[in-house]
Symmetry: C2
Subunit: 318 residues, 2 copies
């Protein structure tokens, strides 16, 4: 029996920073618009190429993101970054496009019970609601990507069957969508499941671009990213300092921290275009600006490359 000694992984990975949307929306304390923009501008210095900058939900639903227009408008000067915004409905899409956003992300939940609690409608009803958004985006020349929340596990129903994902992807394809974010919104996916499910989805839908949005609620995010990369996935969301949280477990970790994911990729020799040292410094700034982090290993232990001085005089080494 012979073991492989050269695992196949992508040579480059593209990270989308989602703290400005998924991180900020989980914060109870109001983050002033200028602080949001300060963080976004700091993130833009790291080499990050894409960012989910806000969500155009109703201000009553998520007051923290009521300044969505202002955040988008004031970010226009950052020309090197591809921005996208989450839109829950046609009204939100109209606001987002008017504010100048060039890419919208649709949202729905894989399970009906999560869809009902999050969007007050069944998954199929959520999909029906996409028609006017896509029509509007087409008219205005704006790109649209899809997403599937609780794609691997639902906190109310448990494991999401692959048939459910197949059904949703087919519907997205019917709408002309070419990119779908598979979101493990509450950190329930495990690496075997990710490996096998992503393999099935890629076999079933060879022309679809799948991206991964992984939460680290139960410590499995990095292993899930590793499993997805083994299936050729190169697009990953992450959140600076791990901002994001989990509504079902106060204090629990949220999104995988951008600096932890980039560190792991860097250690594996996978390029991201992001400068890890700059990123860790930005993470320190963000922790200070927000007042806490969301569970970041880099902020605790530092990168592997940061070697230590041996505590004893090592004459024998001489």
């Amino acid at each position: 029996m012979s073991f492989s000694t050269d695992i196949k992984l992508p040579s480059k990975v593209v990270i989308c920073e989602v703290a400005p949307r998924d991180g900020f929306q989980a914060e109870k304390e109001w983050i002033p618009t200028e602080t949001k923009l300060e963080i976004i501008k700091k993130l833009a210095t790291t080499g990050i190429q894409s960012m989910e900058i806000t969500s155009f939900v109703h201000p009553r639903a998520i007051p923290q993101l009521k300044d969505a227009e202002e955040v988008v408008r004031q970010s226009q000067e950052l020309t090197g970054i591809k921005f996208r915004a989450l839109v829950p409905n046609a009204k939100g899409a109209q606001r987002a496009i008017d504010a100048g956003i060039k890419k919208l992300k649709l949202m729905l939940s894989a399970s009906d019970s999560h869809s009902l609690s999050n969007a007050n409608c069944l998954t199929k009803e959520a999909m029906d609601g996409f028609a006017p958004i896509i029509e509007l985006a087409d008219q205005r020349g704006v790109k649209v990507g899809g997403s599937i929340s609780v794609a691997f596990g639902c906190p109310y129903e448990g494991i999401v069957p692959i048939e459910r994902l197949n059904m949703i992807v087919e519907r997205y394809i019917a709408y002309g969508i070419e990119e779908i974010s598979l979101a493990d919104s509450t950190g329930m996916a495990n690496p075997r499941q990710v490996y096998n499910s992503v393999g099935q989805l890629r076999n079933n839908f060879p022309d679809m671009t799948f991206t991964m949005h992984l939460h680290n609620t139960r410590g499995m995010a990095i292993s899930n990213a590793f499993a997805a990369m083994q299936q050729g996935i190169i697009y990953f969301d992450s959140s600076i300092t791990g901002l994001g949280g989990c509504p079902y477990a106060p204090g629990a970790t949220g999104n995988v921290a951008t600096e932890d994911l980039v560190h792991t990729l860097s250690e594996m020799g996978i390029e991201t275009g992001i400068n890890l040292d700059t990123l860790i410094n930005v993470a320190k700034d963000v922790r200070q600006l927000i007042g806490h982090d969301g569970g970041s290993y880099m902020l605790q232990a530092g990168p592997c490359s940061q070697l230590h001085v041996a505590p004893k005089e090592q004459l024998k080494l001489g």
Copy 2:
């Protein structure tokens, strides 16, 4: 192009609980012998089959484990558990065997600088010192396993070359050792490195049993375990609540938490013989007895199987 949809992983994994050695030795506050034994006895109720129960180091070097004999003697009643103890030298081996331990674990560092700071000798000198321990163990009919600290990365030297591991394994084989623990003592390994290195070691030494001792200092432990399992590794160390810490990063996470590892395995359908619910309850008790945990996702978020009640009346589901 076709993607695999059925990743090959072992059907069973054996966990060795190392908190009584690696966890306790990192605690500054003295843990009374009866508390240690209370924890060991609680752990024995979870279905765990093997335990690294203490280290027979000099009491001046690690005062926290000065009660090694007493801990071993009073654990003898736990007949279902395979106990092993770490021994740094022949004196320690003598003490361990006299106390009744049936399996010794040798220790050395992969890098000379870590070996010097930890054991005040070069790696090769440490290996020379094994001869009297192995002779003694043979005389007394006690098993001996090997270990390699900082096997993947050294906090002073960085990445450990595979040639170094080959050299150490060869020397262990010359001593008749059949099992070696590859210890990522400061959490510097990444899953690509683990996959490739373990593949090489298994190819080079097909008769050797390799076990993995993974720290989660930089959040990569679960991904490293997943990588090792893809190479057929079925023996893993872990520590209840993640007790262990890292001497180079105060407050940083130590050993991968037993409950987090068992949870991931359980979610992947891999048997461990351990009851996860009992284990999580024991983790809660240990956190209370020790006064803190070492970074446990299960203690924050609970297992995936613990579903939540949807917050809204879901009439549409009916």
